[in-house]
Symmetry: C2
Subunit: 376 residues, 2 copies
């Protein structure tokens, strides 16, 4: 199978780039002296995750119990489900644990901690529970200094659950774009989470694990004193949002969408391709960043960026390629009908999710199909 024989659109993984990204993050966390628990929501692919584990990852992070089930079946036991658990998911979590999965679940409120305890006690189950800490004011979690931190710990402890530790995700690091700001956010994330752990310990609760991370803060962190593990997801592929944040180059982006030119609007300088938003996703994450790549950066078939050419508009199965600035009046000659191109995505997690499988292209040009799953 050659690239030119693939049905388009197709999700391509450049395996050499992916392996470089995996090695870079593992070396960074090794250097910082912490365990690394990759977030596999980015790929939802056993082949990708096995490469992360082989490089040294200790356990994984998941965003759905479907992921936990799939990766447990693939042989991975140590799994953190890093979304506050709803009571309706506790039977699924308990079933995984009964089958031998070393599952950790998450809470950030007395109400949800109580729901966990109520479910577990009558069934004689002990869950390992992380308490979510909000270190950057962007989404879920308890503030490091909030009184409710100890209330939640008390409910879990009194209810016989294991307090596994504290975890935080400084997702607002995605809004930054200078090394200085990223270093500062990494320290804020570390400090807040360690502080929460210290409060728990001072109050007599156990708190063995202190888990932090996002791709930008994980790569920017200079010292992780008090932290025991780091989590990151999108680094495995990287994407245009991460390039704008400043933690990778275009040449590091390992995921692209293979597409074919199907037509033109010559007088507008448009080439139409068969990668619309169903392939690229509707993610417009670069819209408010330094460089807006539309729905993606156009590359040639070898994967080299054609600077200035982006997917400027997208319908379900149609993408519009145009040049930023002045329209390209030679677009028909530049990209004739049938031309194969590759498009770098704004957000690898969102683009990958549109495909049932990846086409993994190795350095020798050999292509393997790697299955990807979805749903809940």
């Amino acid at each position: 199978m050659k690239l030119s024989e693939l049905i388009t659109p197709a999700a391509l993984i450049d395996v050499a780039r992916m392996q470089n990204n995996i090695n870079r993050m593992q070396q960074q966390t090794d250097r910082l002296g912490v365990a690394f628990r990759p977030h596999v929501k980015t790929s939802k692919c056993v082949d990708v995750t096995q490469a992360q584990v082989q490089a040294g990852a200790t356990g994984i992070t998941v965003s759905t119990l479907k992921e936990a089930e799939q990766f447990f079946e693939a042989g991975i036991r140590d799994i953190l489900y890093a979304v506050g658990i709803a009571a309706n998911k506790l039977p699924q979590a308990a079933a995984l644990q009964t089958r031998g999965c070393d599952l950790k679940i998450l809470t950030d409120s007395v109400a949800s901690a109580q729901a966990i305890v109520d479910f577990a006690r009558v069934r004689g189950i002990v869950f390992k529970v992380f308490i979510e800490i909000d270190t950057d004011d962007h989404r879920s979690g308890i503030k490091p200094n909030a009184a409710s931190l100890l209330d939640v710990a008390k409910v879990l402890s009194d209810g016989g659950m294991v307090i596994q530790g504290v975890m935080t995700h400084a997702g607002s690091s995605y809004d930054l774009n200078t090394p200085e700001a990223l270093v500062k956010m990494a320290e804020q994330e570390r400090f807040g989470c360690v502080h929460a752990a210290e409060r728990l310990r001072a109050a007599g609760f156990s708190c063995p694990v202190v888990s932090v991370g996002s791709t930008p803060t994980a790569l920017a962190a200079q010292n992780l004193e008090g932290v025991t593990e780091v989590r990151a997801g999108v680094y495995v592929f990287f994407d245009l949002v991460m390039q704008n944040v400043g933690v990778c180059q275009l040449e590091d982006i390992a995921l692209s969408v293979l597409t074919t030119v199907i037509g033109h609007q010559e007088e507008k300088g448009w080439a139409i391709v068969d990668a619309g938003w169903m392939a690229m996703s509707r993610d417009r994450g670069t819209q408010k960043q330094t460089t807006d790549y539309g729905y993606g950066q156009v590359c040639d078939l070898a994967g080299d960026a054609l600077k200035g050419y982006v997917i400027s508009g997208a319908n379900q199965e149609h993408g519009i390629i145009s040049r930023t600035g002045t329209p390209d009046m030679d677009i028909v000659k530049r990209f004739p009908v049938g031309t194969a191109l590759r498009i770098l995505p704004n957000h690898a997690c969102a683009t990958g999710a549109q495909f049932p499988e990846y086409q993994a292209l190795d350095a020798q040009g050999k292509i393997q199909t790697w299955t990807r799953f979805y749903g809940w």
Copy 2:
């Protein structure tokens, strides 16, 4: 199975609303005296499509050859693949035809028409081909008056292909929001496509089918003289974008996402739910419309809209519910942890695509699981 027993997030179809939507469109096209060929890219679901066929649809429109294959296997023969075909997809199209599918394909350029002819002639295949017409300057197609219309027809005709007809999609109708503008756009779409057909016929080419449509223009059209068939897709579910366009009410929207409250940020007036962008999609189609619904309109479990409450922010598996205008300081009491809610989507095609299956809820409260497929 009850609603409260479903794992969240889940994609719910209100079957009674869906059936009303199907009946409304079928009655409209019956009244206008044209055939109706629904675009099944919206649902990608055999159960939904069967309801459309039972109501009177004559054939279907698809956006991928995967859809053509799946629906052909489900017993539907008359299929229009309504995206300009790339040469690399011709073997797949030919295989479908060989198996007995009455497949029609699409072109809008001499280059792609020539590729169709080159592929077909050496294999002794005759494709039925539509020529795409651009009646609203929004994407693909040949302008009704362009010289290349006759050039494309000549290539197809000389090459022994069947010119099945002309088709157009006035997708810019999505940008309108008054009945007057929609009526005008429907007439523009009709006029341009009929004019293209007349030019072909005057030049001696056959052009039996004149196919037009988008959900807004199909519902707004007052007279379709010269048109033989209408296509529309999203009407089957409707969505918030269509509500803003003015062709449905909130109470007509048949697709929603069932979600559970997993936490709060009380001081911000936020409830956090387990429907993030992975469930809702990243579609922000209402952003530039009269009412911006964020990532979706919040409803109670019965499906009644809770006015002013929207998904104001979304991460992969987290949605943030807040009140537009002043924050709701009673959010924790209003939506306690564990509360089940339903979210109406901006764009039904994009939201449906995030789910492997629909939960179809009938008027008696019975739930059936309907499979949905994806990929290419």
